[in-house]
Structure formats: structure tokens, C-alpha cells
């Protein structure tokens, strides 16, 4: 389930853009695969570059969707927090620490993804059939981690603010 509580206007706009991109990539991918079947059996002219283009669309779909899921706080989670931590304040603390952990992991992943992205760009490699620059594929991963890291940073800030507000109420 999506959770857009207290999302700022810029975040909301980014989420809407990601949503549109997801729809575009999913439909384009499906269409491309159907075209592959038609080309193979209908026209009997297989087009090898389609496979490369399909992977390109697929990768962008994966990482754009992953960014959307992070923004929407809709990642797959276990479900025993209410059994482990009994108080609402305790759960807020856990949620804040959880966001910090996710942010740290995302930062590390972004650093190495960017490094690999730069390496691919620098080498100027091209895809086998389409002869398109390889960084178009890797850019999806870098883009995904940039957006995920930004979302997580904003969520961390919000979680921290909520935590302090709760503490102020208790005082």
C-alpha cells in the first residue's frame, strides 16, 4: 500500500512523473515483446535488436518503479513490529532508524552505481545490435538510486521531525 502522508509538493510531482514513466515503460515493453512474436511468426523476420531494446525498457521500468516504491513507502516488509515493539513512540524510533539504515545502503549503492556508470560512459561502449551507447542502460540504475536516496533523505527528515514533535508533546 502506498503511504503519501505529509509528502511535499515537489515529492508529489516527482512521484507523479515516475508513475507516468512506469506506465510508459510497461506498455512499451509489452508492445515490443508482442511485436517480436509477430515478427518471428507473422512476417518470419526476427529482429535481434528488439531484445536489446526490451532489456533497456525493462531496466528503466525496474529502477523507475523501485524509485516510485521508495517514494510511496511501498517496499515489501516483514510484519511483526507491533509484536516486537509495543509503544507508538518506540515504533516511531524504529521507523526512523529503519529509514536511516535504508538511506545508508542506498548511498553506498548509489556511489558504486555512479562509479560504474561513469566507467561505462568513459569507455564509450556501444550495444551489439543497436549500436546505442551502453550508458543508456546503466543510467537507469544510477537514476533509480539517485531518486531513491533523495526520497529516503526526505523521509528520514520527516520521521525525525515527527519523533521530536512526539517528544515535545510528551514533555
Amino acid at each position: 500500500m502506498e503511504n503519501f502522508d505529509a509528502v511535499g509538493p515537489w515529492e508529489q510531482r516527482t512521484i507523479n512523473i515516475l508513475k507516468s514513466l512506469m506506465i510508459f515503460f510497461a506498455m512499451a515493453l509489452a508492445l515490443l515483446m508482442v511485436v517480436t512474436v509477430i515478427l518471428r511468426y507473422g512476417v518470419e523476420k526476427p529482429f535481434l535488436a528488439i531484445e536489446e531494446a526490451a532489456v533497456l525498457l525493462g531496466l528503466w521500468l525496474y529502477f523507475v518503479s523501485a524509485a516510485y516504491v521508495t517514494g510511496a513507502r511501498a517496499h515489501i516488509c516483514g510484519g511483526a513490529l507491533h509484536l516486537v515493539v509495543k509503544t507508538e513512540q518506540g515504533r516511531r524510533v524504529v521507523r526512523f532508524l529503519s529509514t536511516l539504515l535504508c538511506l545508508s545502503v542506498s548511498c553506498v549503492a548509489l556511489y558504486y552505481a555512479a562509479k560504474y556508470g561513469w566507467f561505462t560512459f568513459d569507455k564509450g561502449r556501444k550495444s551489439t545490435y543497436l549500436q546505442w551507447p551502453k550508458y543508456l542502460w546503466v543510467a537507469s540504475m544510477v537514476f533509480g538510486f539517485i531518486v531513491m536516496t533523495l526520497f529516503l533523505a526526505l523521509q528520514g527528515r520527516r520521521d525525525f521531525a515527527a519523533l521530536r514533535e512526539e517528544e515535545a508533546h510528551q514533555c
Binding site: 506506465i23 529502477f63 515489501i76 516483514g78 510484519g79
Partner: protein
Amino acid sequence: MLAVTIALILIVVLLLLEVPVAYVFGAASLLIVVLTGRDIAFLIPYAYQQESGFALLALPLFIVAGSLMGASGISDQLVRFVNSFIGSIRGGLGAVTIVTCALFGAIAGSGSSAIAAIGSMMIPRMVEAGYPRGYAISLVACSSVLAILIPPSVAMILFAITSGLSVAACFLSTIIPGILIATIYCLMNFREARRFEGLQVEEKVGPVERVFKIGKATKSAFWALLMPGIMLGGIYGGIFTPTEAAAVALMYTIPVGFLIYKGLNLKTTQAAIVEGARNTGAIMMMLFFLFIMSRAMVQENIPKDIAQFMLSLSDNPIVILLMINVLLLMIGMLVDDSAGAVLAAIVLMPVVREVGIHPIHFAAIVGTNLGLGNVTPPCAPLLFMSGAIGGQTIDQYIRPTLKLICFGHLPVVLLVTYVPELALYLPRMLMGIQ
């Protein structure tokens, strides 16, 4: 081994604290890398390369197709179709729920889609007909597992790709176990229905009227029933790959949902695609970090160490299979079926190969066990989802759930484990797998 033990403890703790599963595996991978002093620089490109596989494209397409089918009105036609056959028997509505979940599984491939599509329709209908609400919730939850077992199945796609097996063969391995579970659930349901007082049963009709009713329902459901035929017929007939079959299914649903069943309009289509893509994003992120963790574990020879450890406890295949079952059940209780399938492929596949269990047989063991884990508390994502739709807390539906699990699902898990033919018969017959 110490690094991995610490990482495993971290995984369990973080999962219990509801940290997103993807990041749990990410944190565990980083911990392994740091503790073992390995270089992380090539692990991110490795995971990226793994996700760039063409075969993996089947996953988003099947997931989006499943969401679209859920919104298209196909589930309603399936319920009417099954109801025309068994609706007038006492306890028929419960059996309709079970069989429709299995049929929906043949179209969509995920337990959560089955609960969303069938549960929201059948729980209120069953309650109205006199079934206790807790029983209706547990029946929907346990039956939704059939969607994981009847192909296409998202969990099996992931398992096959991660362990380098044929997706089509893995699909086939869980069909017989799925049918067995559905049959046992139906029998248990008919038995339970005898106890329910004031249960409303559809009026019995004469044979001619009955044939007419079945014919009418079959005609209405024709386009829905044609879909598994196209998909599975296409895959096993060698016409298209699972990836292409998923795309064909997706493109087939749109006109059927818009023009025939009229469940789809621009708004519902957009919502369904977003829902499917969202699930894809969540799974792919988890998979990304799982690939990193698997690589880190392989570098440390961990799967082999686990195999040696299990073999040191016993070299009796029966005992080892029992240990594997317990481990799989625990995995299934902690994470959802897609993460569980990948974990099983990474951690337990080397053990299985060492012991000499057929990998396709293992696919069926994984499928049935993860299904069981998904409805077994504490995590039980499918059970809680059904509870949320039915509007009850776990204490109100745990008893019927445990009954279904212990007398319906668990015996099949054991049967599949110790009678390999149940899993291997169809792949051998249809694909010539040795």
C-alpha cells in the same frame, strides 16, 4: 562462516522490525563484504548484469498482466463459471472460492492478486450465505496459495532464473501438488460445511436447465478461460518463451477487459498498471540486493559450508529433506514468496545438488513450502491481507487457518518431498526432462 552467521541474525532482526526486505538484504550484503574484507566495487555491476537478463523480463510483464486481469472483471466470470458446476452442493460456495483461486492462479500467478480479485468478491458472498466470517477469510487466504503453485507463478520464475533452471519445467513441477491441495481443501470444505447452521445453498435445477446454465456461464467465461490456454499452450507448444507469453497475456487482457468484460476503463487500467509496476519495483529492488548477497556468499563458499554442515548432521536423505523443509518453512514465514524463492535458490540449491535431489523436484518443494509459509504466522503476508479484506483480527480466523494448513497443505508438502514423481511426472512427460 562467522560473517554470514552475523548477517543472518541481522536479517532476522531487521525483518522482524519491518525494515524493507530489499534494504535488509542490502545491509546484510554490506556487512558480509565489510567483515570478510572483500571488494564491493564489482558487486553492484554484478547485480546490475543479473537484472539485465532477457528472461527476467517475464516477471514485470506477468505481474502487470496479473494486475490488469484483476481489474478487468475476469475474476467475476471465473466465479460464475465454477459456480455453475458446484454452486448447488452444500458447501459449494466454499469450493467455488478454492477452484476459482486455482483458475485465477492459471491466469495471474501471484497470491496477493488472487486475494485482491477473488477475496474481495467471495468473502462477503460466503458470509451472506451463512459461512462464519473467520472461516471465509482463512479459506480465501489458504486457497490464494494455489496461485503460486498453478503456473504461471512469479515465485517460480524467480526461482528458475536464479538457479539456472528451465522456467517451463519449474512451472510444471507444482501443478500436481497444486491440484492435490485444491482437492483436499474442497473435501475439507464440504465436511466443514455440514457443521454450519443455516447455510444457504443455491436451488437445485433440473438437468436440462443445469446444462443450459453451465453453457451460458462457459460462454461468458470463454475469453477468461482461453487465456491460460494461450499462455501455457504457447509456452509448452514451443510457440513463445515465457517472456513473450507474459507480453501476449498482457496485450490480450486489454481488449478483453475493455470490450468484453468492460471492467477496464482508462482510470482502472492506469491504476492496475501502476499497481503492477509498483510490485515489480519492490521485487526487483529486493532481487538486486539478493544478487549481491548471493555473490558475497558464494565468494565465501557459504552454500557449500551449509551443505557440509547439514550432511554432517545426517547423510540420510529423508532427514536432510526434512531439515530443508523446516528451513524453507522458516524462510516462508519471514519473507514473501518471491524473496523466499530467490533465497532458496541461493542458499539451498547447492545443498540439494550435493545430496542428489533433482533440481526440478526441489522447485516443487520450494513452491509448496513457501506457499505454506505465506499463510503461517507471524509474518504470513497472504493471511493478513485476507484478514484485512475480511475485516477481522487474526484471533478470529487463526483456528480454521491452522486446520486447513495442518490437514490440507502440510500433508501435500510431505508428499511432494518424499514422492518426487508428483513433481517430476509432468516435466518428464511434456518436456522429456530426465
